[in-house]
Amino acid sequence: MEKFTIVTSRAIPLPTENIDTDQIIPARFLKATDKLGFGDNVFRDWRFHKDGSANKDFALNNPNYSGNILVAGDNFGCGSSREHAAWALVGYGFKVIVSSFFADIFKGNALNNGLLPVQVTEEYLKKLLAHLQENPTSEVIVNLEEQTIESAIGKATFEINTYKKTCMINGYDDIDFLISNKDKIKAFEAKHV
């Protein structure tokens, strides 16, 4: 996993609420047995018409928008547990997703892939979305160490579990940690029925 510190970037506003993982990566793309190439199909059915031409109305296709921060409507990542959704967003180049609410499994999957979910208040989100739509070149700064997000509409803090934060900053993952606890697990197994 890549180490995460500060991301300074323009951001893409996507105000839709309840974006589910079927939209992030439709099931027909889940046949691969590795983690590569999912970025090409992120939001596939919103990005492209059925004939393969680009949907000009979709935020990711809007030439005014760019950057590796996605700002999305409430309850982002609900639905299926497919980690392919996180791989697709990372594959496309996103490093941060900002929303007022994240579904549990998606949040965990994102963190396990170096993609930072930044949860802000509904009010902050609303203002940020509106600001970005009017000022597409405006930059957003996300600082993991300080747990802050800063933009033209102001600075806000966000929560992250201390353990997960350490993992993200150092690029560690849970497997290393769990394996280092092997003896404790063995001892537990011996008494657990």
Binding site: P15, T16, E17, N18, D20, D22, Q23, P26, A27, R28, L30, K31, A32, T33, D34, K35, D45, K50, G73, D74, N75, C78, G79, S80, S81, R82, E83, H84, A86, F101, F102, A103, D104, I105, G108, N109, N112, N113, N161, T162, Y163, D173, D174, I175, F177, L178, I179, N181, K182, K184, I185, F188, E189, H192
Partner: protein, 465 residues
């Protein structure tokens, strides 16, 4: 203060607690399937880490399998490769696999309970969000991502933050024709799709106590649709009777010992939940959804609400429905009875009971997909297959099928499908398809009428199974 059912099971599985951090939770059973496991196997192989407890893993092929001609080689090259990789990985690591065509094959959440793998008091995970189904047995069961699949492979444990507790109480008498599916669709419509996020939910009240295990599984299955990681129902005599005698269940004295322990699991009377709701069973009616998330549900006789909200409008636009309209008499060309929500024998009994002596409407393509080989066998043995065939329905072979449309079972663009599955997201059942979630009774009635009808009028005369 007393403990909840969830607390009791959770606490019994904590290996260690990290200060200001997550806990290490021991996992009793790990179910895997072809779609979310290959990258986890690769990860371990690349890092040279062996699978810690292959004896605690069970594998099946279900998401990406054909539901016709299962005895023939799989045609789609990518699906074939994914299935082959599962077989190889299981063989290499000594993991039991109930693959395509195996007599124990089926949807992961249907086979584990029917084989007796699912037992009260356990912790259970699978790389699939509907793992919550198994909570019907009073177990902590939840879906995980592929990185977590790799963690469980490597250590038989997960690093987790203990979720908050939520209880949904439904008491009173259910009306005739109101099925467990309606109960959960009602709960989600009432509380909202993210009301459960951050929580583990317990369902309590006489409505659940009186439900069969199949019904409880339908309810717990859709916990994730309100955002909860899982749902649980306290184990009781219904649970013990269901588990007893199943292939992988404990036998004889060992079973009795287990039952004595399982009886200690229900929530203590003085336990307090972080959040609690009370609903009245008498308010529930047969439900349908009209939008693109499972919270967008109404009683079948109600009209679509008229909200001024851009996400709501986007959703209605996708469905081609109008604010304030009724769905009664909407012509429907596709009906799907299947998925881990409603593909157990009880679901097919309800459908067959309605269909008996009637004919499928000529405009309808109805797909009946049993959840497992065992369910398929039972459908034949109980004579339900004859009922369906005489009515013009075709029964397919087990699998996830049109629930997620990864195989060829796709609903065409623009078509409506009344479906017993759990998700009505855009394109869930095929690109451009429009899903209306409902119970097996409503689905069967739609297939016969060729349109959505008010089943509440008909159920009076019906003896429901």
């Amino acid at each position: 203060m007393g403990k909840t059912l969830f607390d009791k099971v959770w606490d019994a599985h904590v290996v260690d607690t990290i200060e200001n951090g997550p806990q290490i939770l021991y996992i009793d059973k790990h179910l895997i399937h072809e779609v979310t496991s290959p990258q986890a196997f690769n990860e371990l192989e690349q890092r040279g880490i062996p699978i810690a407890r292959p004896d605690k893993i069970v594998a099946t092929a279900d998401h990406n399998t054909p539901t016709v001609d299962q005895h023939l080689p799989v045609k789609d090259a990518l699906s074939k490769k994914q299935l082959e990789q599962l077989s190889e990985n299981c063989k290499k690591n000594n993991i039991p696999l109930y693959g395509l065509g195996h007599e124990k094959n089926g949807i992961v959440h249907v086979i584990a309970p029917e084989l007796g793998i699912t037992q009260p008091g356990m912790t259970m995970v699978c790389g699939d969000s509907h793992t919550s189904t198994h909570g019907a047995f009073g177990i902590i069961a939840f879906g995980i991502g592929t990185s977590q699949v790799a963690q469980v492979f490597a250590s038989q444990c997960l690093l987790l933050q203990k979720p908050k507790s939520l209880r949904v109480n439904v008491n009173g008498k259910l009306k005739k024709g109101v099925l467990p599916k309606d109960v959960i669709l009602y709960i989600i419509a009432k509380l909202g799709t993210n009301s459960g996020t951050g929580y583990f939910c317990e369902y309590a009240g006489n409505v659940f106590e009186e439900m069969s295990m199949e019904g409880r599984m339908t309810v717990c299955n859709m916990s994730i649709e309100m955002g909860a990681r899982g749902g649980m129902i306290a184990p009781d005599q219904t649970t013990f009777d269901y588990v007893k005698g199943r292939e992988e269940a404990p036998k004889g004295e060992e079973f009795d010992k287990k039952v004595a322990y399982w009886k200690t699991l229900p929530t203590d009377e003085d336990a307090v939940f972080d959040q609690e709701y009370w609903l009245d069973a008498a308010d529930i009616e047969p439900m349908i959804t009209y939008g693109t998330n499972p919270g967008m549900g109404i009683k079948i006789t109600e009209n679509i609400p008229a909200l001024n909200d851009s996400s709501f409008e986007k959703s209605l636009n996708y469905m081609d429905f109008k604010k304030g309209e009724s769905l009664i008499n909407k012509p429907i060309n596709y009906v799907f009875i299947g998925s881990c929500t409603n593909s157990r024998i009880e679901d097919f009994r309800v459908a067959a009971n309605y269909v008996k002596g009637k004919q499928k409407a000529s405009n309808v393509n109805a797909w009946l997909v049993p959840g497992s080989q065992k369910v398929a066998k039972q459908i034949a043995e109980e004579g339900l297959q004859n009922v369906f065939e005489e009515a013009g329905f075709v029964l397919r072979q087990p699998g996830c099928s049109a629930c997620l449309a990864m195989n060829d079972d796709k609903i065409p663009e623009g078509e409506y499908c009344v479906s017993t599955s759990n998700r009505n997201f855009e394109g869930r059942q095929g690109q451009g398809s429009r899903t209306i979630l409902a119970s097996p009774l409503v689905a069967a009635a739609t297939a016969v009428a060729g349109k959505i009808i008010d089943v509440t009028k008909e159920v009076e005369s019906l003896e429901l199974a």
